[in-house]
């Protein structure tokens, strides 16, 4: 799958650094609008902290609502990054090259956004330090290691640290390129970041090994993160339908599903914004599409397992949750939308090569997947809590307040803003990776009349 022509290094630099060295007209207006939305949300959050969670739609027994749903969703998105870059690096898939960094950066930013959610949804956010960080001030308080809410920060912070380092290490050679292209203060900053990289054989060798090694190390972390997030629910015995052993892999696969779709969408967007047709080519989106068919089907398998074994126990209240999800108003409508948008529409599209190579269809499919996956989390959390237990005292439903809706919506603006700003200072497509691809590409195997493009492999 190596199409596209080999480009001279100068042009690669020129094209891929365009986002940094020159500012397109639309850039600041767009960032401004996004920033405004984020600002509004920030003000609302401040108001919420000031007045208390009463302004949300939360009640008894739905104590976790939009915020936690959004938290799980963004954690899910964050799984794209490492999933793609690590697995494709290890598999030495040629078409990974332009996708990796965008994916990793998306990971970092969506993780940051995700971490905001549980913090602002606590009753006393200003005391959050007590929660996450193990320390012993005068009162001899330590966090309780037995709770998933401590596993969460440990996993998420590990993941955030490692993926940030992952990106930074891979950025060093590109910093060097920027150092050589810029002048003045930015020259000095990039020079500092490049740490005096000159690109000799040893540095390159270690750079390559680091890519593979770190991928192999981060993969287990990435699996653990969403598993632990799933255990926030899996460990709870009281909310029926949460206490299921399959939650960990089910969540992880779902996360990969939504995340990879998100990355595909972001790539299409970048291609369109910065005119990177030569780098983000149809073959890359196509590859993502094929991958997504497999991931989606795997996810569907876990989904079916989860539902079947929900009914398997034939326990009255678990059946009740299922009927709440699948049969009763209002959730059943959402469930139908969720299943169709998550699996049937996109997979049906991805199965045909023509659809995979049509950017419009691809982006629609990816968006639909993410709508579905957001609903999935919502439909796991809220019906599980809204389930009518033996106690009539807590028979209620949940309608999010406008504040929640706006804050949740603003998180999307937040991530896009961060991505745009990042693309302003760092190359979103790894230059050296593209150049390496071009170097390894200049060989082909001739079979009869047909010339099959080939790559050099060091192993």
């Amino acid at each position: 799958m190596q199409e596209g022509r080999v480009l001279p290094a100068e042009q690669v630099n020129r094209d891929l650094l365009r986002s940094i060295l020159e500012t397109p007209k639309w850039f600041w207006p767009v960032v401004g609008i996004l920033g405004l939305i984020v600002l509004i949300a920030a003000i609302l959050i401040g108001y919420m902290i000031n007045r208390g969670l009463g302004i949300t739609g939360l009640n008894r027994p739905i104590f976790w609502g939009f915020f936690i749903t959004n938290f799980v969703f963004w954690i899910g998105i964050s799984h794209a990054g490492v999933m793609l870059s690590a697995i494709l690096r290890l598999a030495k898939a040629e078409w990974r090259r332009p996708a990796t960094r965008a994916a990793e950066v998306l990971t970092i930013f969506s993780l940051m956004t995700a971490m905001i959610m549980p913090i602002i949804h606590t009753g006393r956010p200003w005391r959050i330090l007590y929660w996450a960080f193990p320390y012993d001030f005068a009162r001899g308080i330590w966090p309780n290691v037995r709770t998933p809410l401590i596993w969460d920060p440990s996993a998420i912070l590990t993941y955030l640290t490692s993926s940030t380092l992952f990106v930074l290490i891979a950025l060093v050679p590109d910093f060097a390129v920027l150092r050589d292209r810029t002048t003045g203060i930015s020259h000095r900053i990039y020079g500092l970041l490049a740490m005096g990289w000159e690109g000799n054989a040893r540095q390159w060798k270690l750079q390559i090994i680091a890519g593979v090694l770190l991928s192999a190390l981060i993969l287990p972390v990435f699996v653990s993160v969403h598993s632990i997030v799933s255990w926030d629910f899996g460990m709870a015995v009281a909310a029926k339908s949460w206490h299921s052993t399959i939650f960990a892999p089910y969540f992880v696969v779902g996360a990969v599903h939504s995340g990879v779709s998100a990355v595909a969408f972001v790539l299409i967007l970048l291609r369109w914004m910065y005119g990177w047709q030569d780098y983000i080519r149809h073959e890359h989106i196509d590859g993502l599409g094929r991958l997504l068919v497999v991931v989606a089907t795997g996810w569907f398998y876990f989904f079916v397992m989860e539902v079947i074994f929900g009914i398997y126990g034939r326990e009255a209240d678990e059946i009740a949750v299922r009927s709440l999800q699948f049969i009763q108003e209002p959730f059943q409508a959402w469930t139908i939308i969720f299943i169709v948008t998550t699996y049937f529409i996109p997979v049906a599209l991805w199965l045909t090569r023509r659809a995979r190579r049509n950017l419009w269809i691809m982006s629609l499919a990816c968006i639909s997947v993410n709508i579905g996956m957001w609903l999935e989390r919502y439909l796991i959390i809220v019906p599980g809590l809204a389930n009518r237990t033996a106690f009539t005292f807590s028979w209620n439903s949940y309608v999010p307040s406008v504040y929640e809706a706006i804050i949740v919506g603003a998180t999307f603006a937040f991530v896009s803003m961060l991505l745009l700003l990042f693309s302003r200072v760092f190359p979103l497509i790894p230059l050296y990776d593209i150049k390496e691809g071009d170097i390894l590409k200049n060989e082909s195997v001739k079979i009869g009349r047909r010339v099959v493009p080939a790559v050099f492999r060091e192993d």
């Binding site: 899996g234 015995v237 939650f247 397992m305 079947i308 074994f309 126990g313 082909s444 790559v455």
Partner: protein, 473 residues
Amino acid sequence: MSSHSESHYPHDMWVFPDAQSTTQDVANKTASTPKILKLGLVIAGVLAVLGVVGFVLRMATDGFSDYGAWGYYAAIFSYIFIITSSAPLVAVAFRLTKSHWRRPISRISELFALVGVVNVILYIPLIYLLPSINNPNFTPGMHGELQIRKTIWMEVPVGAPHWWDFLGIISLAVLSLVILWVSVVPDLAETRSTTNGWRKKLYTLLAGHWYGTKKQWIHQKISLALLGALYFMMVVFVHFLIVSDFAMSLIPGWKDSILPPLYTVTGFQSALSIILIIAFTMRKWGGYEKYFGTSVFWSASKIQIGLTLLWTYHLFAFFITLWYGRMELEQNILRYLMFESYSWIFWLNVIFIFLIPFWILVWNPVRKTAWGPALAGIFILVGNLLFQIRIFVGAFNAGDIYHLGLFKVPPPVFPDVWDIFMVLGGIGLVAFIYLIGTRILPALSVWEVKEGAMYQKMGTLYRGEYLVLAKPE
């Protein structure tokens, strides 16, 4: 290879078999039966006979009325079933991903289709053993007794689960045979004229229609892909049926949605292991060394280590959920399957299927050898057997299956001599049939190896010499 590469890689990392000689060479190897193989056949045959003896005596002593005595039989059935049904996936999966390294081993994995018939035979007694879903002696108002025991067949369709599972196993066997046939046809067609005797007849019968026209090749590729995808889904589904009907639903109150995935992962793991072991033997003693580069083992062992980690991950996900919930039956199931009754088997299972293989495969130099992955494979196969014993013997002796839950921890059940006979016999039977199979059909997928030879070569870039890989669309 360039000076530096040799220091990096063993000289037999990549082999580029000569397309001309391959066909004839493989045909000769198939026709001849070396001494070591004869020996293997004899041993396997003896074991198989032992197995039959064990089975008959078990039947004589216990009959089919009490299924508890048949725990080890169920275990060995599941062991054989999970390996043989998963084995063809190695060929299928990596054909779909267009991995070149799979080419030499894909036939090894497809040949397991021939063993599929063993699954069908071994399953038949289980039809009579598996207790019915409806509680036979149920009287209304009985405390803590279920009228219909917990099972994935909610509404209990006719003949479920016994006959439906049987159907699943049969369809798997047939489907894998079809895949084998579609894939083996070009090789047979090449040699149908040069061989003689019954092979000639058989080959002509199977591959008479094949002339290797462009059309035929395209059809073959497409049908392999479609059949493969279908087979993949079928396997996962039937695994789910078997493990939930013969293990989960037999332990009262055990509700564990992760068991089917865990079971399937175990299957993939051991399938890859046995294929690598066979590849190693063929390479070492079968004279196939010029077809297997160690790159095969290298790439496969990367997958293997991933599967190993995956297995542990699934196990932990199961454990932590049950450990955290304090329900009595959850705690009892943990005690029963993990920490009290079957604790020793459990720990050995973990060591063999995870710890040892992981620490063997984590070293890149070991992964680059042929013996490393094969050795890890042996451990994984043993671990898998222990896993099956733990789950299935446990399930077959968990007490009143129509009860609400497991509220006291049953004791473990140790094998008697007949059980051991049956376990060994099952393995022997499989080995016997497989070895016979390698005499009938070529154990190396000639057309795939030839195709691979076209797309791989050593090429020079400036001063270095590297592998050149071409991936046709």
